[in-house]
């Protein structure tokens, strides 16, 4: 069964491959953190991990359980105040990659982590922005990791916490956003990428053994796709070994 792997393991491996050596990454907890550490352990040893909590150049000795885990500080290169994190690093344009997730991601990559339903009378109250709004605006590009699900990928989000590529028809450039926004969405079945012309998320690559219909079934709008879809390589033995034996031995995040 050595070739079998969980969707989480695949998503983590795919996200890791998106990171280039030496890049400065604004890291979140969970799969993004695992993806960054997998990249560091493989093709990107010089990746600089920055957490919104202020840890710069973190080399966590254990799997951080929160974005402010003490293990992110111990042995890091610098601790910044949060004012410096947002002003001197993020707004300054030093963050090359940001990671975002969300309860809802729509056709144009707008992300909602605030409310399901009406803002004043929500059916579900979500945590809110945290640093997500400014990460989506300032990071040179952002990667989204999310499992396919019609509720998670509606035609339009109930609330725009983090702006994507079209907001009421207006482009990021028109609105003056420095970063490129969510250019790629890594799901459990396929990869979606933004079509730079329309600002729409389109299907560009399938995971092994996945049909386009399975992907479309998890998307709340008429999903377009490239004429020629590439197939994404599964996690290598090495990637799996690192994920299972070193990075998440307790299977905290990679079980399913």
């Amino acid at each position: 069964m050595e070739s079998s792997y969980t969707p989480s393991e695949m998503m983590t491996a795919v996200a890791a491959r998106e990171l280039r050596d030496g890049e400065v990454v604004f890291v979140g907890i969970g799969l993004p953190n695992l993806a960054c550490n997998l990249a560091r352990a493989t093709h990107a040893p010089n990746l600089v991990l920055i957490y919104e909590s202020g840890a710069v150049g973190a080399v966590p000795e254990r799997l951080p359980v929160s974005i402010g885990d003490p293990a992110l500080v111990t042995g890091s290169l610098m601790v910044s105040s949060m004012a410096d994190v947002f002003q001197c690093l993020l707004q300054n344009g030093r963050i090359e990659v940001g990671f975002l997730g969300g309860a809802q991601i729509d056709r144009y990559g707008n992300i909602n982590t605030t409310v399901v339903g009406d803002y004043t009378r929500p059916t579900v109250r979500l945590p809110g922005s945290g640093g997500a709004a400014e990460i989506a605006i300032h990071a040179r590009r952002t990667l989204v990791i999310s499992r396919l699900d019609r509720r998670a990928f509606p035609e339009t989000v109930d609330f725009i916490t983090s702006p994507g590529h079209r907001i009421n028809g207006r482009t990021r450039r028109e609105l003056g956003m420095p970063g490129a926004g969510p250019t790629k969405v890594v799901t459990d079945k396929a990869i979606l990428e933004v079509n730079p012309l329309t600002g729409e998320l389109v299907l560009t690559a399938l995971y092994p053994g996945v049909e386009v219909a399975q992907v479309a079934a998890g998307i709340g709008w008429a999903l377009r796709s490239w004429d020629r879809l590439s197939e994404v390589a599964p996690p290598s033995e090495r990637e799996l070994r690192l994920l299972r034996d070193v990075l998440d031995p307790k299977r905290l995040y990679l079980k399913q």
Binding site: S66, I67, S81, A83, Q91, T114, G128, S129, A133, E134
Partner: protein
């Protein structure tokens, strides 16, 4: 702590208990609950378990925040019940982390507002009229602004301070400095009081000067279940367990009875928690630097 809260935290106050994951002063939150403060405007980037408890205890009239979740463990259900109209009414004023940091930065500088390049394309300004804009007098660019936040009282937990409140913090710094300077009154709670000479031996570590501090309280384990770098680790089991407690109003009420109302002070809490020693930090002591000339 009893005296400090009695003297400096009043009904109707705007209260900030800061600390981003690190150094969250639960000891102060519990004492405020015990003293049954009411109509507080609670401000924090991440309300965390401490404000979930204070909301459940009926201390809060309003919450000003930017991320209201249980980091890595789920929801703050007392907050959610209120926000979803199934609990006591709670007024919400919502920003992003950068917005909250900017509000406290303006407060610390005693400026009425702070400027950011932010919020374009988001729905936050639509639901929060306090997010506004200003035109640059040089480029004409329109930038977003948030108003200063100047709390009545800010409570900061630090690893150590001297008797005057000159407080030293290492590890994550969050927005404690800005919150303290923005506040009319400041309570510093520490793991240990040290002699002034220990502070003066390494002045670059001092984050909050005693000259802005109104009360100093020693409260070992005062940040539990959050952590204090170099003193004790985060009690992650408690954070995970909170999901179950806060989900059930009765269970939450029982928790408050048992761990807050039922106890007289922090020492009793520490004793009741039992084996906190399991969280005691390992030794990773750095080298000193030379301040000679």
């Amino acid at each position: 702590m009893r005296e400090a809260v009695a003297a400096h935290v009043r009904d109707g106050d705007t209260v900030v208990i800061e600390g981003f994951t690190h150094l969250i002063c639960f000891a102060a939150g519990h004492e405020i609950i015990r003293q049954r403060r009411r109509d507080l405007t609670l401000c924090r980037l991440t309300p965390d378990l401490i404000y979930d408890q204070m909301i459940a205890a009926g201390c809060a009239r309003k919450l000003v925040f930017s991320w209201a979740g249980n980091p890595g463990a789920g929801s703050l259900h007392a907050f959610r019940r209120a926000a979803e109209g199934m609990g006591p009414t709670l007024e919400l004023e919502e920003y992003s982390h950068f917005g909250m940091v900017a509000r406290l930065s303006a407060g610390a500088a005693r400026l009425p507002f702070w400027t950011m390049r932010n919020y374009m394309g988001t729905d936050l300004p639509r639901v929060n009229p306090m997010i506004r804009s200003v035109s640059c007098p040089y480029t004409g660019e329109v930038l977003s602004t948030v108003p200063a936040l100047n709390p009545d009282v800010t409570i900061v937990h630090a690893q150590r301070a001297d008797a005057q409140g000159n407080a030293q913090i290492w590890g994550l710094l969050g927005v404690q400095k800005e919150a303290a300077f923005a506040s009319d009154r400041v309570i510093v709670v520490v793991e240990e009081i040290v002699d002034e000479s220990a502070i003066r031996a390494d002045p670059n570590r001092t984050v909050i000067p005693g000259l802005i501090v109104d009360a100093v309280v020693v409260e070992p384990w005062g940040a539990h279940p959050s952590y204090a770098q170099g003193y004790y680790d985060r009690d992650n089991e408690f954070y995970i367990g909170w999901e179950k407690i806060s989900r059930d109003p009765a269970a939450l009420a029982r928790y408050l009875d048992e761990f807050v109302y039922g106890l007289g002070n922090r020492a009793e809490y520490v004793e009741k928690c039992g084996d906190l020693e399991r969280l005691r930090a390992s030794e990773r002591i750095c080298a000193g630097v030379n301040y000679g000339f």
